[in-house]
Each structure stands twice: as C-alpha cells, then as structure tokens.
Symmetry: C2
Subunit: 165 residues, 2 copies
C-alpha cells in the first residue's frame, strides 16, 4: 500500500513510545521554550487594513520533535512544522483553540517566569479580538500597543510567514 506523503516526519520518528505529559512539566518546558506572539501584518482585505495573528509556539531542535507532537496531543490542537533549518515548531494559531485550550491551561497552571507577562498580554489581545476590536482602527491601535510590549529580551524565535493551521 502506497504511503500518503504528508511532509511530516514518519510515525516512527515522532513518538516511540508516545509520551504522556504532566501539566507541571508542560508549564516548566513552556517557561523555558515557549513563545506567545502577536503578529500584525498589512492586509488590504481587512477592514482596518491589518490582520492580527496571535500565535503560541514552542521551537525545538528536530531531534526532540517527539516532544512537540506530545504537546500537540496534550493541547489537542495546533500543528508541528519545520521552523527553519534543523528547528521544528509546535504552533497554535486558531483563535478559538487558543481561547478554549491554550489560555485556560496557563490560567490553571501559571507560568513561573516573566513569560507570564507575555501570556497575560496575549490573553488580553485574544479577548479584544473576541469582541471584534481588531477590526476597528481604535482597537487595532490598542492591540498594537500591547503587542509592542511583548517578547522583549527574546532572541530565539523568528515567526514563520502566515499560513493556514
């Protein structure tokens, strides 16, 4: 039977055996490796001329891609994709998944690093978006102001260009 080409690592590569993560491990790992990011890209088809793209990401060397698949199973959403070169990324961009799965988890299991400040700003932007504020110039300005104060002193993560997922 011909194997369907998915562009993703084979089942063998990704989890032998599949890891079940514990909540505190996830919090610790995301304190170290996670990123809450708000992209704001020009988009003439949007009412306010810009598209707001919130994104929760964990980047790892490809040798640890099985941990990214374990996170995907843990949060039950998102995708695992190549980031650049030998780096892989677990990424959640769907606003509903961010609001229903990712944000409640970190509300229940607070981050211990200063990354928690980024998370709180990220959550605020998601709430503004839920009210449609990102579609109005004033709301967009507010989101831009919040986003500009995030991810300072972060060097590692360069977000990939927008795509579905």
């Amino acid at each position: 039977m011909k194997k369907v080409e998915t562009g993703e690592p084979s089942e063998t590569t990704r989890s032998v055996p599949a890891q079940r993560l514990e909540a505190q491990w996830v919090t610790g790992f995301v304190d170290g490796e996670g990123c809450f990011y708000i992209g704001i890209n020009p988009n003439p088809t949007m009412t306010a001329g810009f598209q707001v793209l919130p994104e929760f990401t964990v980047v790892q060397h490809e040798r640890d891609v099985q941990l990214l698949y374990a996170l995907k199973r843990f949060f039950d959403c998102g995708v695992v994709r190549r980031n650049h070169a030998d780096r892989m990324a677990y990424r959640v961009r769907d606003a509903q998944h961010l609001r229903d799965k990712v944000i409640p988890f970190f509300e229940k299991h607070p981050l211990r690093s200063k990354k928690r400040m980024d998370f709180l700003k990220f959550r605020k932007v998601l709430l503004l978006m839920e009210k449609g504020e990102h579609l109005k110039p004033d709301g967009l300005d507010q989101i831009r102001a919040i986003a500009s104060k995030m991810n300072t002193a972060r060097e590692r993560y360069s977000p990939a260009p927008p795509e579905t997922g």
Copy 2:
C-alpha cells in the same frame, strides 16, 4: 546596620515571593534550559595532567534570576552567578552535590528530551570520578570519549572559566 556586599542581586530582586517549585516543573524547565557539561582542562598539578570539571547549569536572562534562586533552593546546592552580559547562570560543580542531589533527582524524574542522553553520560562520568578513574590516563581517555559525545546540537551555553563553587 551596614549591608554586607555579596555581589549578588538583593533579596528583593531575587524572589518576591519565593517560589516553591514542583518536581515536574523542574524537569520540564531543565529539558528546555538545562545543560549537563563535562569540562576537561589541562592542569599540570593533576596526576593525569588534566582536570575533569562536571557542571550542571541553567542559564536565564537576568529578568528571571528569581527562578535560578528557586532552583538553588530546590536542589539545596550550587550558586547563582552572572554568566555573560545579561545572562545569569545557576550552576552546580561540587561532585558530591551532583552525586547526592542533582543526579538522584533526574533518576527519579527522568528528562523527556534527548538531553536525557547527556544526563546519562554525565552520570557515568561522575561514577567514574567517584572511583578515581579521572586520575588515571586510561580513565581520562574514557571520560574524554564520553564527553565528546555530549552537548551536540547545543548552541546556547558557553561555560564560564573554572572557579570555586
């Protein structure tokens, strides 16, 4: 009363409030940010001409130095020092502390990333050192062979020069 100058951040900077860490959080954070490193430095005063310096380290931006102090309390050993520029490091170099405190913890709470392979090699070197193998040319060769297979695909950590602590 005159405050004793310790060269470390003030009590206020380092923990408000002091964080109590959970084992799984520590494992997750070390999976992301930790490093098990074996330094082998020329030292004419040693029998085999080299000094073996095992080191467990977690490096963070200085804004999260309170987490490093929390790790120091958690493991009940090691020091927090500036690594370079705006990076701080939590570091355990004492072989007895590594054997009695750090290694048993990660035996009980296994790392989930490939860093576990480094940990197992690190533990092996510590056991060889306990038997005095690092003082013999053959043992030193064995340690050198193990160390050469560690910390591949690691870019972030540059160990500081040897010092007491």
